[in-house]
Amino acid sequence: MSLEKILRDRKNNKKILLMTHIVLGYPSFEVNREVIAGMVENGVDCIEMQIPFSEPMADGPVILKANQDSLALGTSVEQCLEFGREMAEQYDIPFLYMTYYNIVYKYGEKAFFEASAAAGIKGLIIPDLPPEMSPDFFGYAKEYRIAPILIFTPTSTDERMAALNNHGSGFIYCVARRGVTGAQSEFDDGFSRYLKRCRKATGLPLAVGFGIRDRKDIEALIGKADMAVIGSETIRLVDSKGARAVGPYLADLLATN
């Protein structure tokens, strides 16, 4: 089933979906397993697994450090692909890879799609690959039925959103604000107008991320977006309170759902 269809089905009996993020191999694959188990148990709808890269230019300090620490521990792309396969097999929710283009490019675009499809991965988020930079990538995405997730931002013009929409599938990732991952966002009137523009530009489900931390943030998105994305916050939580803290935190986030 396509990622879009899976998400739409899940949305039928929920006010809003939740996607969470982990950095593979940080602090260890063992902890990744524990964290993902907690996420799935508590009703997370979709998980993006970041394959670490040495130059994560779009990530803020928390995820940057997680990338570097994971690589310092020796995390390889092969291990990440294997871990993805294990998760997709074990749990009945869609898993995505998030990484930077060089990881895919160096592995070989076709080979990477082949490996991701074999692992049961439903989508790819590559923040430094604008569609015009690799027609091949988007061709393979169709061939292997893996959704290339494209990104709208508050600086995107209506024309740009329309152009991106032509290449994306699965859902559109709407970045809530300027900046990198992990800083606080303001969900004000300007933000609502921006989400309306996003909605107008695409028929795909809208996921909103960057700076979402608590139940209040999620409630503010109900009716405006289809899915909320929690990124740096769960990493902060695992860093400060351990893997077990993730379940209760997510349960509280989704209490109104």
Binding site: E55, Q68, N102, K106, Y107, M133, P154, T157
Partner: protein, 411 residues
């Protein structure tokens, strides 16, 4: 450059979506400036009144006699204001920033020369200025940090990754995506997403334009070879553009051989065999990376050459065999520097000294009717701490210890 910003197989613009509009505007403004003859006129006026352009071409008579071959000429970019070719690019971008109406500039810096030039430009044009610099480079280029701060710039030491140039670039990009509306990122070299490689090379082409005329006036015909050190590649692109397509002249780019190409401790992307095609920091080029695509640590005695990638324009010229690439080791660099100081009274930057090394290796093989040009991209006095260490200079050490004691007693 084609429409997507590629030079052959290299270049492009692999940027986060948040920067899309900013790059569109930058491309528009750059195209307008390029098509406006008055812009280049303003630029050269500025460079001849605020900096020291045209910079001289110096005939190095003693070095020529020493090697007994080709006549050695040195293009003196060290005599630019702020002491390096970096000023050319920065002042050009400063004029663009004024046209775009932005009020804040940011920059990365390795050796500190680009940061220094940017801080200078910001002071002159009245922009706010933040400079990102790897913590390792902050330590080895302390005098430049001092001057940047004195000119009103904020210098932010970057503590991630290898804490050198590429990490400073990542951090500058992070700042830029957070402040796209107010801020221009003054990229320091002919790398990064389009249009930076071409735009920076355009501003630097002033070096080659002058050198072409100067060598004709002094030598009567084009040089046999032109040497330039290659970190990101902006000074080499600058001088090479004066001679590209000229069959008589061979262009030679010299990379950091560090402790030797077999040691793994170098920054040889095009002259060695350790690099492979990749995409990072917004562009496609030959990167020093492992099989997974993770960037490797690089090493050079010269902070400005210590970088994992290289200009996509140079990667294209390398692939089409229009430029030959060589490398110089840290040790060879210090020897060439020593000789140049003793024989000519000229102090090249450690970066520039890489070009001197290769020129010295080859000068003797050429005829005395031939001329060669070495691009001296910057002056070496900024490297006083590193050079003093390399020479293990006893009187300098004594001085530093005494000065430290004085500070301790007075505080």
């Amino acid at each position: 450059m084609n429409k997507q910003g590629f030079f052959g197989n290299w270049g492009g613009s692999y940027i986060p979506e948040i920067l899309n509009r900013t790059f569109e505007r930058l491309r528009e403004e750059y195209d307008r400036a390029r098509n406006d003859p008055a812009f280049w006129q303003d630029y050269t006026n500025l460079m001849s009144t605020y900096s020291c352009r045209p910079t001289p071409l110096t005939f190095a008579e003693n070095l020529t006699n020493h090697f007994g071959g080709a006549k050695i000429y040195i293009k003196r970019e060290d005599l630019n204001h702020t002491g390096a070719h970096k000023a050319n690019n920065v002042m050009g971008q400063g004029l663009l920033v004024k046209r775009m109406g932005k009020k804040r500039v940011i920059a990365e810096t390795g050796a500190g020369q680009h940061g220094m030039a940017t801080a200078t430009m910001a002071a002159k044009f009245g922009f706010e200025c933040t400079i990102y610099m790897g913590e390792v480079d902050v330590l080895r280029q302390r005098p430049n940090v001092f001057w940047m701060e004195k000119m009103g710039a904020e210098v932010v030491p970057v503590k991630d990754g290898n804490r050198t140039l590429k990490d400073a670039i990542n951090e500058a990009f992070r700042d830029w995506v957070s402040h796209v509306d107010s801020t221009h990122y003054v990229f320091g070299t002919a790398c990064g997403p389009a249009p930076f490689p071409e735009m920076v090379s355009w501003f630097q082409s002033i070096i080659g334009r002058e050198a072409t005329e100067q060598i004709l006036a002094m030598h009567g015909r084009p040089p046999a070879r032109v040497y330039g050190c290659v970190g990101g590649g902006s000074n080499a692109m600058g001088i090479f553009q004066g001679f590209l397509g000229n069959e008589e002249t061979e262009l030679v780019g010299v990379e950091a051989g560090g402790r030797g190409l077999d040691s793994g401790l170098h920054a040889a992307r095009l002259s060695g065999t350790d690099a492979s095609p990749g995409v990072a920091q917004g562009y496609k080029t030959m990167f020093l990376q492992n099989d997974d695509g993770q960037m490797l640590e690089t090493h050079s005695v010269a902070a400005g050459l210590d970088y994992v990638g290289v200009s996509p324009i140079l990667a294209d010229l390398w692939e089409r065999k229009k430029v030959r690439f060589e490398s110089a080791t840290d040790g060879e660099v210090i020897e060439a520097l020593d000789l140049t100081m003793k024989l000519e009274g000229i102090i090249p930057a450690l970066e520039s000294a890489h070009g001197f090394v290769q020129a010295f290796k080859e000068a003797g093989d050429l005829s005395s009717d031939d001329a060669i040009i070495i691009n001296q991209s910057g002056r070496g006095d900024k490297d006083i701490f590193t050079i003093a260490d390399a020479f293990d200079d006893p009187s300098w050490k004594e001085f530093i210890i005494e000065r430290a004691e004085q500070y301790k007693t007075n505080s």
